[in-house]
Amino acid sequence: MDLSPFWLSIRLSITVTAILLLLGLPLAWWLARTRSPARAFVEAVVALPLVLPPTVLGFYLLLLLGPKGPLGPLLEALDLRLVFSFPGLVVGSVIYSLPFVVNPLKNTFREIPEGQLESAATLGAGPLDRFLRVVLPLSASGAVTAAVMGFAHTLGEFGVVLMIGGNIPGETQVVSIAIYDHVEQLEYAEAHVYSAGLLVFSMVVLVLLYSSGRARRQARFR
């Protein structure tokens, strides 16, 4: 039994979650607070993966990042191959899972009363200080939710990954694609192992998430 799709999926999910948090925290903070007219546009772009079929996203990414695409020459100059490679999977998954990380963060950030931040400001805390010492601690449960959603969603991703990564064992063949592969070849036993593994893993993660999130939420904003 080849376990490499499992390891690849987990490696991909961890990498993508880390990037999503780095990207999502400032982006969600901006979206939650800004009055800029650009907000609606940015929010729509972030939410696109929720409504578009993953294959559409994967198709355009393939064209964009491919050797003949608009970014092709640039990537070539940087000696970076994004299509049919692990880095390509990361790029595709980051875009595809972005709303699952940004939306819970944005909602948590919006719950923080303006007065808390104004108090912190008059007490001498600058913008970064306020974000690190007030916003983040108050958003811990939202950030955990966001990270878990990003991780789990990346783990289960199929369409984008198939379009941009293909099905190269050990390089781009993640669990979801391995399942499809085995089913196509009528190897149901192997498909079962991968599927049941994902099912159990997702269930455990969600149960942990919901049981810890409730306890934490009760202690806020009294």
Binding site: P113, G115, Q116, E118, S119, A120, A121, T122, L123, G124, A125, G126, D129, R130, V134, P137, L138, A219, R220, F221, R222
Partner: protein, 360 residues
Amino acid sequence: MSGLAARFELERGAFTLDVDFELPARGVTTLSGPSGSGKTTILRCLAGLERPRSGSLSLDGERWFDSVGGLDRPPHRRSVGYVTQTAHLFPHLDVRDNLLFGLRRVRERAPALSLESLAEPLGLRSLLERSVANLSGGERQRVAIGRALLASPRLLLLDEPVSALDLAAKGEVLEAIERVLCDLTVPCIYVSHDLREAARLADRMIWLDGGRIVAQGPVRDVISNPRLPFAQDEDAESLLIGKVTAIDQEAGLACVAFPGGELWIATTELPHEAEVRVQIRARDVSIALERPKAISVLNILPGTITDLTQVKASPSQVLVSLEVGQSRLLSRITRRSARELGLTVGLHAWALVKSAAITK
């Protein structure tokens, strides 16, 4: 130049704010006026939380805001203590860490106060290790005031800090505020609707209406200004500030000398030479044209009538302003008495104040 100088102009929909004022380097100024007159907006402009369309602001000669030069120092670099109706304590920190939040961020100079020095007057000692989630409303406000003071502000802004509290908590927090304000060495602005709070805490008063300053000056002048709504109030009062000059232990009375005369008030608990604020309700002051003899009233003060104003809420009554020395006394009497006595501006008259009616 020491003290604060501010000039703000701003529009918010139909509301326009246009104020220009100065504050001395220390002392408490009450900012009063009807709802929507711009009190909170002024405080927010002072704290840097709101940007006026034009104007300027400087403290002790240091510019914080100037629309001409495009200068706008952000709130975290202004050293302003700002306490509102809602304490806005940080729920993820305990009481001690809330209190120290600002203190730990004091830059460029040594903190003016220590947690130790505020624990007593604000009654914080038993709260320090507690979580902020289970503090009472009064406790939350005391922590919020302590937190603001520990940040060593150069300007303290209190925006109705007790108005959301129940009566008992209000008294407790007001006493705490009184204790810390008397040692304060920076200017303080205290927004309040309450006449008695203002009379008790403030040295100066600014009366705001429709985004403009209608009156400002020493609190005893503004509070008893017959043209302002305080004087029209059912509980309108004059404020006399004086010193205890004699105590009659046997009678249970203290004599207070104020600019313009002496008053006997029903207390012996005050130390000799102590400064006292005597609040006299306009309803408790009667007027006579001649000095009465054989009367129970102890305080009979000579004065000159400077103003007669109709009480808007009750047509049967008028408000008489008397100049007693350099102080002003308000008297609320019936219109009929005023007519029968022939009271007019400029007339010499006697104000009669029962000692039993005076509150300290």
